[in-house]
């Protein structure tokens, strides 16, 4: 049972992270590019996007899970289990990821961007060849934080029958006072977070050519 929960947790985290990045990464790029100091300033888009992202980020995840039940049912056919949990996870994490990506990209030296502009690079080339590669170590670190945060959210979804280790911890550990199961699931979560965070750190350090 615990092995199954472990796999479910990993499944939710990995799939949700991937999908959340598909949405969050472009949003983060748009935030940076349309900023008033960005390479294609556009105050309107920047403001609207910023407000939407803040709005989504301020909704507590549990409330988001419940509020999204109809949407989840529409997409996955159920509101229970790991696959169903992916829907609110993606929607909850994408704005968070957008902000993480934004802050990573903003670390890129303005001078390097100006150099690329002076060589006649188009905004698309600057994003693709300057912003993303130069921010790579920081983006990887951000990804480690985002993925572990998503894992935490996925455990929270256990309270509404989301599946995975969080679900087990609540059903057995909390409702049935089986403290041993509670401890094992929590320990497993701790291990996963440690491993992911460490992996991210290592990858970031390995890919950083600034030393």
């Amino acid at each position: 049972m615990i092995g199954m929960g472990f796999l479910e947790s990993l499944y939710m985290t990995v799939v949700s992270s991937a999908l959340a990045y598909v949405i969050g990464l472009p949003l983060g790029i748009i935030l940076v590019v349309t900023d008033k100091d960005g390479i294609k300033p556009c105050a309107g888009v920047n403001r609207v996007l910023g407000v939407i992202i803040n709005l989504l980020r301020s909704i507590p995840f549990l409330i988001l899970c419940i509020a999204l039940i109809p949407v989840t049912r529409f997409i996955t056919g159920t509101s229970l289990g790991p696959t169903a949990t992916i829907v609110p996870l993606v929607i909850g994490a994408a704005p968070f990821i957008a902000r993480m990506v934004e802050s990573s990209l903003k670390e890129v030296d303005k001078g390097v961007i100006e150099a690329a502009q002076s060589m006649g690079a188009t905004p698309f080339q600057i994003i693709w060849k300057v912003l993303l590669p130069e921010a790579r170590p920081s983006l990887i670190l951000g990804a480690a934080i985002s993925v572990t945060t998503i894992l935490g959210y996925s455990a929270l979804a256990g309270i509404v029958g989301g599946g995975g280790l969080g679900d087990i911890a609540i059903r057995y550990g909390y409702y049935r006072y089986q403290t041993d199961i509670m401890l094992v699931t929590v320990a497993l979560l701790v291990v996963i977070v440690q491993v992911l965070q460490d992996l991210g750190l290592r990858l970031a350090r390995l890919s950083d050519k600034r030393k």
Binding site: D109, G111, V112, E114, A115, A116, Q117, S118, M119, G120, A121, T122, Q125, K129, V130, P133, E134, R136, P137, S207, D208, K209, R210, K211
Partner: protein, 338 residues
């Protein structure tokens, strides 16, 4: 050396920035011709508007008024796409080098060619040639963080040359380097200008850089071009306050001299042999006080300057000035110097 046809023509260029505190005028009515093949200096104190002027030359900053002609194309009439194309023929190097830190040296030099759509094999071949030219062939696989400041600037120069530019604009390119590294970089730029015939525009606040390699210079002072001309002419006969400040970079004021008249004498190579001052002192039997002296190498020619304090006696002072002028020296009275 310049061929006499202008490569860059700046016409009636003004730039006003809109900020929250209102409008700030940074450049007013700038007119300049930069000739093909010359090394042209633009010098000014920080805050004079130099960096804005650079950014206007390649239209990274659109001028509020006026325009720039590059190679006879009016940049204000070009589409965004055409502008990208023009920028590819303007190489640029910067004070902070601005290399891509996550790419190795070879890939940095390839970068402008990637942008221009050159295929990878040709780009790498050319990048190796350019690294050879700047003397860094052995660093092709190194990352910028492993290089010294001078080496980074050499990579930046190779990168600027990669797209076969007509001009290289150097924005305070030596300001972050120590004097001996600066000399090396300036020599390299001079060599590139001579061998490849590429026009070079040096933007700087250091007169020594201008003296070392520029043929002509524009002095920019509080939003305007104060003076344009050959470096040696401006050095011998500065006509504006801004120029004078740059020619005497030491510009110190020593109050106990203020009661007396001072003269600045400029020697060029031909007059440096005769001991003029010594002879003058012997002839007038009056001492003069030498308060400042140095020699400069302006584009390969030796120039010297001396500031002397004339005797109290008006008549002798007047005669001394005539004496010096008769010996073909440039003499001007300086009032604000001491």
């Amino acid at each position: 050396m310049g061929t006499g046809t202008p490569l860059i023509k700046i016409r009636g260029l003004s730039k006003v920035f809109r900020t929250e505190e209102g409008e700030v005028s940074v450049l007013e009515d700038i007119n300049l011709d930069i000739m093909e093949g010359e090394i042209f200096g633009i010098i000014g104190m920080s805050g004079a508007g130099k960096s804005t002027l650079v950014r206007c030359i390649n239209f990274l900053e659109k001028p509020t008024k006026g325009t720039v002609y590059f190679d006879n194309q009016d940049l204000s009439r070009l589409s965004q796409k055409e502008l990208y194309k023009v920028r590819q023929s303007i190489g640029m190097i910067f004070q902070q080098f601005n290399l891509l830190m996550q790419r190795n040296v070879l890939k940095n030099v390839c970068f402008p060619m990637e942008i221009a759509g050159v295929n990878k094999k040709d780009a790498e071949k050319r990048a190796y040639e350019l690294l050879e030219l700047v003397g860094l062939s052995d660093k092709a696989k190194a990352y910028p963080s492993q290089l010294s400041g001078g080496q980074k600037q050499r990579v930046a120069i190779a990168r600027a040359l990669a797209s076969n530019p007509k001009v290289i604009i150097c924005d305070e390119a030596t300001s972050a380097l120590d004097p001996s590294t600066t000399k090396g970089i300036l020599a390299l730029l001079k060599d590139i200008n001579k061998r490849l015939g590429i026009t070079i525009v040096m933007i700087t606040h250091e007169m020594s850089v201008v003296e070392e390699i520029c043929q002509r210079v524009a002095i920019i002072d509080s939003r305007h071009i104060a003076e344009v001309g050959y470096v040696q002419d401006i050095f011998t006969k500065p006509t504006t306050e801004a120029a004078r400040r740059l020619v005497f970079p030491e510009g110190r004021r020593e109050d106990h001299f203020t009661s007396k008249r001072c003269c600045r004498i400029v020697f060029d190579g031909s007059s440096a042999f005769e001991p003029v001052i010594a002879n003058m002192v012997l002839e007038f039997r009056q001492a003069v006080n030498i308060i400042f002296a140095n020699t400069k190498n302006i584009d390969g020619k030796a120039f010297g300057q001396i500031v002397i304090q004339l005797p109290e006696d008006e008549l002798t002072a007047e005669k001394m000035i005539t004496y010096l002028r008769n010996r073909g020296l440039t003499v001007e009275e300086v009032h604000n110097f001491v």
